[in-house]
Amino acid sequence: MQQRFGRLYEAETLLSGISLFRLEVEIFVGYEDIRHGENQGRCDCMKEIRVEQEEKKRTKKRWTRDDTELSLLALPTTIWFLLFCYLPMFGIIIAFKDFRITGGFWQSFIESRWCGFENFVFLFTSDAIKVVTRNTILYNIVFIILGIVVPVTLALMIGQLHNKRAGKVYQTAMFLPYFLSWVVVSAVVWGFLSIDKGLVNQIIQSHGGEGVSWYDTPGFWPPFLIFMNMWKGLGYGMVVYLATITSIDSTYYEAAIIDGATKWQQMKYITLPLLKTVIVMMFIMSVGRIFYSDFGLFYQVPRGASSLYNVTYTIDVFVFQQLKTASTGMASAAAFVQSVLGCATILVTNAIVKKFDRENALI
């Protein structure tokens, strides 16, 4: 026994230092006690466990070599996060400054005058912010509803096709737009909608109609932008839900079929309830981004046409335009409002979901 213990001791000290040796000694003593008095046995066992737990706590607190090495491994990415995520987070206070470039960033930052809420007053008294906020929120509401209903329906449908290979082909084809950038999509749309050469106008003209100047027709754009958004995101959305559907245990369905459940019932009582987690998650994430918009969709597809300002400008497009025309004040104030409101909405949505359905909350 003594010898065995000795060897153990050696091995353990080699592994993680003297603390484990002490633990071993205590455990060893514990075992000896058990041998001596059976009544005390249980008590000693408890003591042993307690000692072990304390020991764990102590090692948990202590910084080991492993931790140093892991920190080293995490260091580059940590620096990246500090530079590209956290610096800009603190940088949003330039919304409270009359920010002017007078040299390096810190120098400009210090030399710029604090102007309190001036930028915000300026922002909220302009008509622009009302229009762009309205556009952003209305488009997003439509996107959220359609972005859940349509892909879920299609994912349910594509799983039912008799020919599975055809299903794969459809899925691959529908995934293609997701991999195109908005610049390319803009070129594609131009091919259809160009005033003099576009395919649509040619078709209209060949049927005796008059060509429409699409890029100057505000009424056309809301439905069209919604369509383009669906077109680009459909394949992705479908795949997300389809992946969850295919991971559902097939025995559920088998049992249901034997009990005589119809297709409709299977969907209603098995598939949809099991899809709920993913749907709620996608919902929270998209609601949390209700003040953000897909810049490419709203800037590239209508080609930033100012005649479409009322229907295509969203907060992001507005901020970008302001930034590029060198009016930092409004841009930084708008970006500040966007960041803060965005953060608030995601937390509130999550809290609401949590209240009704703890399991499905994101955080």
Binding site: T77, M89, A95, P177, A187, A243, G296, R303
Partner: protein, 308 residues
Amino acid sequence: MTTKVTYQSGLEKFNRIKPGTNVLFNFIFLILAIMCVVPVLFVLMISLTSEKALENGYQFIPKEFSFEAYKFLAQQGHLIFPALGISVFVTVVGTVIGVILTTTLGYVLSRREYKLNKLLTWMVFIPMVFNGGMVSSYYINTNLLHLKDSVWALILPIAVSSFNVIICRTYFRTTIPDSVIESAKIDGASELRIYFRIVLPLSLPVLATIGLFLCFGYWNDWFQSMLYIDNQRMYSLQALLNMTMQNVEYLSKNRAFMGVEAAQLVANLPKEGSRMAIAILIILPIACAYPFFQKYFISGLTVGSVKE
């Protein structure tokens, strides 16, 4: 076993939707699939139409086939090749840097016993909820980090995303057994060695997934160029297409206010067909590659949706 299989397929047959419904569903998906693919084919056709035929408008089936547009691009080599070079460089270097940065942190976060685990998890999580926004990032990147007109402006700001880090963390946690790491430790391997020699070779699927996300992201990126690149020599293919697709009239009207270089560029602006040819140049590699890599994308999406 065989009986079970036949039984199951029998059940499946019994559970099938009606033939009529099947035809209807197939029809719907066929329409959707065509709607997704045909516009791209249309652009291809425009790029293959002769400039003369294009004057009458874009046609689905070209009246006159020609490689004129591509020849024109080749002639404009000083415009196209640097852009292609920038695109390829950004995609390759960006993907490598991004994968390294993402997986190292993902791995560290997957180690439960690491002391700073909680802190770093919060560090990754907070940017998903709150961010500095376009304006402040712009000033930090241009004035503090001096990335304006540098190729690194196209690479660094989008190298890491919290979402990718979390995909990695979840993957490492679920697929790499603790015992493997422990045994390596007992054999005296350092953490760095464990990561490079054991964890990475075991994690090729997640590396492929993250690599693909990044690769497509970099290849398709035009926004970084639009914000940070003013120098035309640093334009990527996307930026070049973006510029030529921007209102050409506006550019030529304002020629007087532009630098000599830009004015020259406008003079050489690719014609109708050539613009579409640039688009095809961008689409082609993606369209050829994605059907084969789809499954890695899908696996990434599903890993990301696992909540702990």
